[in-house]
């Protein structure tokens, strides 16, 4: 018996060995390096080359960063300090220019005692779009809005221009978001008027009568549509406000101002500059080009020949022309066509052109999204009896926009960066307009790198946030619907 056992099982392990770590070549850092950086002779060469380039760059720029001077009154003082600290011939960054002139980069020539107004306008903008940015999660929206409100508080207090009314208003908005989140959308709709008024100031009645135009349009639609049908209603909804704005609004605002004089100090457009200008143009452009792009995209796919031709013509014309051309048109040519004496604000003209430009691109992006939808979606909507507009609004657009998010956000980022082109029509954009203005002073003549880096960094932060937001949205929607 035991002999048999000995034959069939010549060796039986009675103690278990602990598992050995894998050989160094197969695991951890070495393995990762082998797989990712040195997997072949070509990759090895590229890796080495990459490291050499990085090393050269660091060697060149690191000292410059390390030799930073924050406290100086002029560029020559800066250089003297660098020489004194790090020896003759040392190079260093003179951030003192930013430290002294940063308000100019942010606010242009906006009156210094009114800095709180653009800050408040920006804070309110973020609060207004909060519910839209975070439609999916009310908690996220509330956190975002509270954070923005807190930052707005701190910024305004730090400016030393604590306007109690403004702070109370911001707090009230946070309260609305917490207790009646849907109501905040009313503020979102009104924001364009509020933002406009805060930035340019003047009589409070101007934005009020402007908003009144929309209310009148809505009333006209409600009155006419039951009797005259949707098309007549829509025409009335457009014509009534236009007439109101063109002929009656100014008089009404004047009369109201005469009865109840209410207003804040007006700021002229030529005081705008820097990021206040870039954001004013960029945000308004973004806000208006999206709905306009949607309408153009729908028009381009319309069965109605006239609508289709107009939309195609518009889109192809705009896409065939550089933005600069449009800006020049805005600044020079329009003057010939407008009746003499009309004072058509240059920033407004630029905003219109930038909006038209971006709308054409967004229309094409959305058209791509529309084309990607299967025909079955249209058929199902039709078969259920939804009319064209309801089908577009409830079925088609939500899906097409979702597909188009990356493209739309790219367009927005492009638009925002393109606002620097307004330098060519004499507006002080942050990148060239303001840096030139800063260098025009004797103290900071010759400060090139630091202002560009500062402005570039701010642009990068804003654009990168937009890009991250788009990725967040894409991930969210993907998770929701699959």
């Amino acid at each position: 018996m035991s002999g048999l056992h000995a034959q069939t099982a010549p060796f039986v392990r009675d103690t278990m060995l602990p598992p050995e770590p894998p050989p160094a070549m197969q695991s951890g850092v070495v393995k990762w390096l082998r797989e990712n950086l040195f997997s072949g002779w070509l990759n090895t060469i590229l890796t080495v080359l990459g490291f050499v380039i990085i090393a050269l760059l660091v060697q060149k720029f690191l000292p410059w960063f390390l030799h930073s001077v924050w406290d100086a009154g002029s560029i020559s003082e800066c250089r003297a300090i660098i020489e004194e600290r790090w020896g003759p011939g040392a190079e260093g960054a003179c951030w003192a220019v930013i430290r002294e002139r940063w308000p100019q980069f942010l606010y242009g020539f906006y009156p210094a005692e009114l800095y709180w107004r653009p800050v408040l306008a920006f804070g309110l903008l973020l609060i207004a779009i909060g519910p839209i940015l975070f439609t999916q999660s009310q908690r996220a929206a509330t956190s975002f809005i509270t954070l923005v409100a807190a930052l707005t508080f701190v910024s305004i207090l730090a400016l030393g221009q604590h306007n109690v009314l403004a702070l109370v208003f911001v707090a009230a908005l946070v309260a609305v978001q917490v207790f009646a989140p849907r109501r905040l959308m009313i503020f979102t709709l009104l924001y364009p008027a509020v933002g406009f008024w805060l930035l340019w100031g003047g009589s409070v009645w101007i934005p009020v009568v402007a908003v009144l135009g929309f209310v009148l349009g809505w009333l006209a639609f409600r009155l006419i549509q039951p009797a005259g049908g949707s098309i007549l209603g829509a025409i009335a909804a457009v014509l009534v406000p236009v007439f109101w704005w063109l002929f009656a609004a100014r008089l009404a605002a004047g009369a109201l101002q005469g009865v109840v004089p209410l207003g804040i100090e007006a700021v002229r457009s030529d005081r705008f500059g820097g990021f206040v200008l870039a954001l004013t143009i960029g945000v308004t452009g973004i806000g208006f080009s999206l709905p306009m792009g949607i309408v153009l995209a729908l028009g381009r796919r319309s069965d109605m020949l006239l609508v289709k031709t107009l939309c195609v013509g518009f889109i192809e014309f705009i896409r065939g022309v550089p933005l600069i051309t449009l800006l020049f048109t805005a600044s020079l040519l329009l003057n010939y066509f407008l009746p003499p004496g009309t004072n058509f604000d240059i920033i407004l003209r630029v905003i219109i052109m930038v909006t038209l430009f971006s709308a054409a691109y967004i229309a094409e992006v959305i058209r791509g999204g529309l084309a990607a939808l299967p025909r079955g979606q249209y058929e199902a909507a039709d078969a259920l009896g939804l009319d064209y507009w309801k089908a577009q609004r409830l079925i088609i657009m939500p899906q097409a926009l979702k597909i188009s998010i990356p493209g739309i956000v790219s367009s927005f980022i492009g638009l925002f960066k393109d606002t620097t082109l307004v330098i060519f029509v004499g507006l002080l954009d942050p990148l060239k307009g303001i840096t030139d203005a800063v260098r025009a002073s004797i103290e900071w003549k010759g400060a090139y790198w630091e202002p560009y880096l500062f402005v570039g960094a701010i642009f990068w932060i804003i654009c990168f946030s937009m890009s991250r937001y788009s990725m967040y949205l894409e991930r969210l929607l993907k998770r929701e619907h699959r």
């Binding site: 979606q377 078969a383 259920l384 929701e480």
Partner: protein, 264 residues
């Protein structure tokens, strides 16, 4: 007959009565795609309560015919009258017919960005102007009927094909249609899911719904249909009650088709 989906259950025929009232009347209807004559001189009357199965080879115009009935396709000559409303380019009439006629597609065509319950309540709320709460109750009622009430808050992408097709049926029913059109409702489904969809359709027939089904499920046709229509090359070649149709086909084309599809 070697049909993998032979209907074994007993059909309750108490409510399956054909009335004299005309639901759909098609007279000498023609349709072209460009120069291609898809539908030729179609004459067809459907009475209320009829369950009609339309079959025929691929490309014979079956889909086109039933899509003309709710004007997903436009016909060029002849007349289509649905529930007393003639289909013309008049939008009002089209909307009226579409709200009376439900349609189920081969590829379900659910709205992927809406939950199941939202899919079901969308049209009642926006077209019929029914209050949301009431629409949701109706939707749950029909989701229970198609046996997936527990999926109500999922998205279509999270459901199996068979479940999606049953949701599509419930979505149509929520509009309380008087006529249901089915365009190959089971042909995009895996075999094990076909039965659950057919069962739902049978229950619908048992309740007396007027149904037009394009399908090659001959078991379903035999069990439920009161008439089978055979189409070829844009024409109605032959129509008969199921028993006669399958056991005593008249034309050669029908015989050929039946022998192919039934695998004799």
């Amino acid at each position: 007959m070697s049909d993998p989906h032979a209907i074994t259950r007993k059909i309750d025929r108490r409510h399956m009565q054909v009335s004299d009232e005309v639901a759909i009347q098609i007279t000498s209807m023609n349709k072209w795609y460009g120069t291609f004559h898809v539908l030729r001189d179609i004459d067809m009357t459907v009475n209320r309560g009829e369950r009609i199965v339309i079959c025929g080879p691929s490309g014979s115009g079956k889909s086109t015919l039933i899509r003309c009935i709710n004007r997903l396709e436009e016909h060029q000559s002849g007349q289509i009258v649905v529930d007393g409303t003639e289909l013309s380019s008049d939008i009002k009439n089209i909307d009226k017919v579409r709200s009376e006629v439900g349609m189920v597609f081969q590829h379900f065509n659910l709205f992927p960005h809406l939950t199941i319950i939202e899919n079901c309540t969308l049209a009642p709320i926006w077209v019929r102007k029914i209050p949301k709460k009431e629409a949701e109750e109706t939707a749950m009622h029909f989701l229970e009927k198609v046996k997936i009430p527990e999926q109500a808050h999922k998205y279509p992408g999270q459901l199996s094909g068979g479940q999606q097709q049953r949701v599509a049926i419930a979505r149509s029913l929520c509009m309380k249609p008087r006529i249901m059109l089915f365009d190959e409702p089971t042909s995009a489904l895996d075999p094990e899911m076909i039965k659950e969809v057919l069962d739902t359709m049978i229950e619908l027939a048992e309740e007396g719904m007027t149904m037009l089904c394009v399908t090659h499920e001959m078991g379903f046709a035999q069990a439920v249909a009161n008439r089978v229509i055979f189409m070829d090359q844009g024409q109605i070649v032959e129509q008969n009650e199921p028993k006669e149709f399958f056991h005593n086909p008249q034309s050669d084309r029908t015989k050929l088709f039946l022998s192919q599809i039934l695998g004799h």
